[in-house]
Symmetry: C2
Subunit: 414 residues, 2 copies
């Protein structure tokens, strides 16, 4: 597999655009379209938050009715359209209806998504006035996807895109592309019908709606559901996949190369979201092995990623191994502390932090200083955790907690 510079328009038949409608006072782009003329199979996984935004409700409903003839997505950023009641639902329907009319497709064939402040309603008139320009700018090139990837951002510092081309078992060359946003309110917990992270994956492989849902659920669970910025599971988390079959070839539902490609695109995007966490200066990867089962491995990895004490220690490059052990201890994962080993990955080497349930020898003296220097130097820190309790493994991604995080989130809006 070759990773290619590109995004959602890398697969054949997909076009995208992004424009400024004025939802954001900054007048930065805030309205994105993703479109395929050829109807696509689509699948989605959504937040498990009980307060679900109107666009999430609508996506889930539309995918449950006719997931085989979807033409794309309409995304607004700046407002979440959550906590908006029936009026918010009507707003969202009006936005997708207006887009569908301009695009000449049925309204139910467009999937809505939104991200931003919870509470305010979508300024429907502004969006409606901007839609014709968004439709005119739809482009199948690198620029189209880049504009869309910018228009879905909120507090993100930059766009997140990924693309790849792979050859399936039968020889068909297919393309997979993706884009995502997400910086705060990030602790996705998405289920078959389940951050505010938004993610979009496109492929020109031929996949059935059911096959696409299986693939998205499995790989979404391993990637987007394993990132944590602040522990707050959003009202708007949405991960959508579209396959329009433009590459031809037989049905590729269970093709391993396609599964791997989609998984790699999702992992690349999920890591990018964690790395761009609000105020983050470092990406933290936690690899857990030796867990009694996969759920325990996941819990252990996510607890470390979520711990505010681990995150602040990481910001300070403090080799505070106790905080790691503490988070593992309350994660709910099964293990005996005397079998616990934790190390810091430095290139090809592992620097021991906890050995057999106690701090690695020398850590209190010169060793601590050395780990401090490594933590300070690395922008990507990887912890290797062996629970010593079984065969299962999992990986989670997080980031540090800095003064910048407090600044971003404590600023009075109104």
């Amino acid at each position: 597999m070759i990773q290619i510079s590109g995004g959602v328009t890398h697969p054949h038949g997909f076009r995208a655009s992004g424009v400024a409608s004025g939802i954001k006072r900054s007048l930065r782009p805030d309205l994105a379209l993703l479109f395929t003329d050829r109807p696509a199979a689509a699948a989605g996984i959504f937040t498990t938050n009980r307060v679900r935004a109107a666009p999430v409700e609508m996506c889930a409903e539309r995918l449950s009715h006719d997931p085989g003839r979807i033409h794309g997505a309409v995304v607004v950023s700046g407002v979440a359209n959550a906590l908006t009641g029936p009026a918010g639902r009507a707003d969202q329907e009006e936005v997708t209806r207006a887009a569908a009319e301009l695009l000449g497709v049925p309204p139910e064939s467009l999937l809505p998504a939104a991200t931003g402040v919870i509470g305010p309603r979508i300024p429907v008139e502004k969006v409606r006035r901007a839609l014709p320009e968004a439709v005119r700018q739809l482009a199948s090139d690198r620029e189209g996807s880049s504009h869309a990837a910018h228009a879905i951002l909120t507090t993100d510092t930059g766009p997140k895109e990924a693309a790849t081309t792979v050859r399936l078992a039968d020889g068909t060359r297919v393309r997979v592309g993706g884009m995502a946003k997400g910086s705060g309110m990030i602790a996705p917990a998405m289920g078959p019908l389940h951050a505010t992270t938004l993610g979009f994956v496109t492929t020109d492989a031929r996949v059935t709606p059911a096959g696409l849902e299986r693939l998205l659920t499995r790989e979404g669970d391993r990637t987007f559901n394993m990132i944590c910025v602040d522990g707050d599971t959003s009202t708007n988390d949405t991960l959508l996949a579209f396959s329009n079959g433009a590459a031809g070839g037989p049905v590729a539902d269970d093709d391993p190369a396609l599964g791997t490609a989609v998984g790699q695109i999702l992992e690349s995007l999920a890591r990018a979201v964690a790395k761009d966490g609000e105020g983050a200066t470092k990406l933290l990867t936690i690899r857990v092995r030796g867990a009694s089962d996969s759920e325990h491995a996941r819990r252990a990895a996510k607890a470390v990623a979520r711990s505010t004490l681990v995150k602040t220690a990481l910001f300070g490059a403090d080799p505070n191994v106790g905080r790691i052990a503490c988070a593992l201890g309350y994660s709910g994962a099964d293990f005996a502390v005397e079998h616990l080993n934790v190390s810091l990955v430095e290139g090809a080497r592992n620097l021991p932090l906890i050995v057999g349930g106690i701090p690695a020898p020398g850590l209190d003296n010169g060793g601590g200083q050395r780990i401090h220097a490594v933590l300070q130097r690395q922008q990507e820190v990887t912890l290797d955790v062996d629970l010593g309790a079984g065969p299962a493994a999992a990986v989670a991604w997080g980031c540090d907690l800095s003064y910048g995080y407090v600044h971003i989130n404590a600023a009075y809006r109104t």
Copy 2:
């Protein structure tokens, strides 16, 4: 009930002291003794963290063997004695043995507790050299309890004490006192054998060990287990209760006045811990009602207390009602968003924030400014949440997340 200025020595027969042994480089007090000549019934609830500190293990064991003849507690601050393996256990046994020898009581009759950095071992020799002075200073007056309350602190900005006198059903006057510490690594989850919050309650009422455990479990669950500073459940959380019967009178296990008094002392201490959360500028109280059951009410209240987005908004006095709804939504509590009502308590009035699942009218305009002003003025903010789903209620306590929190926790130690 009259709340009295005092602490653990308010009940008859209890003495306390606090000295500096040199565990803390700052040379602040770090060794506390609590002692009753007359053997007491004792009960404890402890952290549910799988990585349990040596003193927690020892307390649990001693209370399971002979909870009816306990003489007090030996507390060190500065080191947690967690992640220290068998050597840590031996250190802790040595410390309590040395204290017991000086006090002339069996070693098993003293309960150990510790709080501080996880990983390093207790400097046993320093502690041993300081113990004779700690024993000499044991005092039954206000000074004794105050010295002990200072010696158990870590990042706390001040001591936490409470005391009261009540008359039981049969006319006996009994006294209840308490002290606590806790500022960071606070999200207690203590069970019958289950934060680093340390809490100590003394009473001269006559209570059986079983009665004391029932009382402590019930009231500890409603108070200490409902505070959250950072969401990190410590390896060392310990809440201990001692009743020496010095007040005389019949067995008071089920006396309502005693239950109320112990509950009020615990609530007062728990609130003090939340208010003194690391870097905190505001105490946040979340009162949830209308939950389908008590567990749902507790989850909802704790999720809001734990949310870093709610905590940073509170620091900024930002009336970001969406973040409150978001936390309630992922809490796991059952409710329908259209029945959700949230208000901010201002004296005898409730200022509406969310009404029937949407932001209160006017909140986006002048109303938001008004709430902002109230939030900015109040050092104690109370949210009233009605889930509209049932009859159950719960209260949780938390604090805001400030630049100070990051500063305290990102400083490189070594």
